[in-house]
Symmetry: C2
Subunit: 341 residues, 2 copies
């Protein structure tokens, strides 16, 4: 059996997460038992939610256990199988974690993150960790089930160039909406407009406070904002709320600005009442029932070129911690992956 490099959570962050929270180790991959398969990971997915699990504070998921392999989505290939459900050569996605290989009990197949075969004929394998995976379905759920957009409405999204934001844009355009993104830096904004087809994109780095950003949003959204998809929290959410039209909805899927332990307040919650808004938080893994419908639409958007997701790819498992810390600081451009082969 091959030697398996793994990254463990060694200790929990005090304040900002740091490379020293992680530890690289090697171990043997165990012999397969009946009903198990061995997956060779080609790509590891890095996602902001992982920061939340590194802490012990209250969260929607159990904390990542100390001394164990960091949990995370993976895409790869079955290289050995003792289950009739998979054959060597099958391309699969699952929750293999920050390691080169994983042994999967394929009979636990109904859980979120269970191993599933994917078709790489029209969609590259890595995209199943992004636009046609958890981030894409996240965008789909927030837009379709919470925002419920109508033709002609204006939809905004923070972290617009990222895996969730780019999918949100394509899904909203497909529904006849005006879509305005918020992203960090001129390169990301150019990509959001020119390659992703957003109607406009605002560089939040040009704005020192929520008031200034809010004014830019007003210019970009002359009819106000009907739905907002929030990946970040903090200044962007403060800037968007005053622009929301009556009865607007905010789908809240990320609060990265608060992960380092300092709570980031919402400055004007009275706007929720004044504009009769709905703000709703959600976790896509709790809504597995929508995945088939969402993945079908997302796959078609990628296959037809209407959604052209960008990827930031780090190389080698040993570089996963740095890539992850960069993601938390917005240094990635599009979906952050680690290529392991």
């Amino acid at each position: 059996m091959p030697i398996n490099q793994q990254i463990l959570l060694d200790n929990r962050p005090m304040g900002e997460a740091a490379a020293s929270n992680f530890m690289l180790v090697s171990s043997d991959t165990p012999e397969l038992k009946e009903g198990q398969v061995l997956v060779h990971h080609h790509f590891l997915s890095l996602d902001p939610y992982m920061r939340g699990r590194m802490s012990e504070s209250k969260s929607y998921a159990a904390p990542q256990p100390l001394g164990q392999v960091m949990q995370g989505g993976t895409a790869g290939e079955v290289i050995e199988s003792r289950s009739p459900k998979f054959e060597p050569g099958d391309k699969v996605v699952g929750m293999g974690g920050w390691q080169q290989y994983s042994v999967v009990d394929v009979d636990k197949a109904d859980q979120p993150g269970a191993l599933r075969k994917v078709d790489t004929t029209h969609v590259p394998l890595s995209h199943y960790l992004g636009a046609v995976g958890m981030p894409g379905v996240t965008a789909w759920y927030g837009l379709v089930k919470i925002i419920e957009p109508k033709v002609g409405q204006t939809i905004t999204v923070s972290a617009a160039s990222g895996a969730v934001g780019s999918a949100l844009g394509a899904l909203a355009k497909a529904r006849g909406c005006r879509v305005v993104g918020v992203a960090g830096g001129p390169d990301k904004c150019a990509y959001v407009v020119n390659e992703l087809g957003f109607d406009d994109c605002i560089d939040y780095r040009e704005h020192g406070n929520a008031l200034s950003l809010s004014s830019a949003l007003q210019d970009a959204c002359p009819d106000g904002v009907d739905g907002h998809f929030e990946n970040v929290g903090g200044m962007v959410l403060d800037a968007v709320l005053p622009r929301m039209n009556a009865f607007g909805s905010v789908a809240l899927c990320g609060m990265i600005a608060g992960y380092d332990g300092k709570p980031v307040p919402l400055t004007q919650p009275s706007l929720i009442l004044l504009s009769r808004l709905k703000i709703q938080g959600f976790i896509v893994s709790e809504h597995m029932e929508v995945w088939p419908e969402a993945l079908k639409e997302l796959g078609a958007l990628v296959g037809s070129g209407k959604l052209r997701p960008r990827e930031s790819v780090a190389h080698g498992l040993e570089n996963a911690p740095e890539a992850f810390l960069g993601l938390l600081k917005g240094r990635n451009f599009g979906k952050q992956l680690v290529k392991l082969i």
Copy 2:
């Protein structure tokens, strides 16, 4: 025609509202035209929303115009009619404003606040401005349409002894819920538990900050909070959010703490995501379709003694401004009214 005392909005508050914002004047009541009735007001309703309208800042309703009679709900008696729809002696509620008499065009009968006859056989006239009126329907809408409680769930409400809070409690008890109130002072808390039948009530004045209040809520709500009805905002909302169970809902109908112009932040909006909460603001006058169903249930609760609303009654129109300012500071106990006869 009788002389009509009126209170006008003379100037807008700079910071806190003050008695000097209002002006008492007298005028003649005009001759009735065809389709009009003259109503003699017995009671004027004072409500926190009026503070919002005194300012020109963005709100859901147009600001109260300067130099005109303060808008507000009234209950009274038709004393002259040039419409076949009403006869002298009819008891009515409407939006007559801060004055002794109003002339109403009864053909504009479909608007929110249009004049309607009420039956005072089992329900005292004044209650149609409280438990069996706008405040009661406010509680009903937030509970039934936003919180959607289930038997055995725990529901919390701020300003529990007030017109909205007391109705909320009776409605939630009728649905088999545990109901815990937050109110200011031992007298109000005793009333909330002993007369209104809440399971518990917390005196927020015993708590200097949200953390302390939140700890008291934890003791009073051992199974967490499934639904919260927010009349106040500020510290109470900050204290409740950490106690909310996953997938809980917050119906937001008042943010009195922010009316004086200083925005009151929400300290930990990340909890909306962590606990997958829904927070929704609403204005009951935009949901007239629920009024008949809601008023029927509220009337039955009052008629059967299951809802025993308390009233704070000021006497004489000239005392309306002081009573209103007291309401904004929580000095009222139950529904704040001004008796005009």
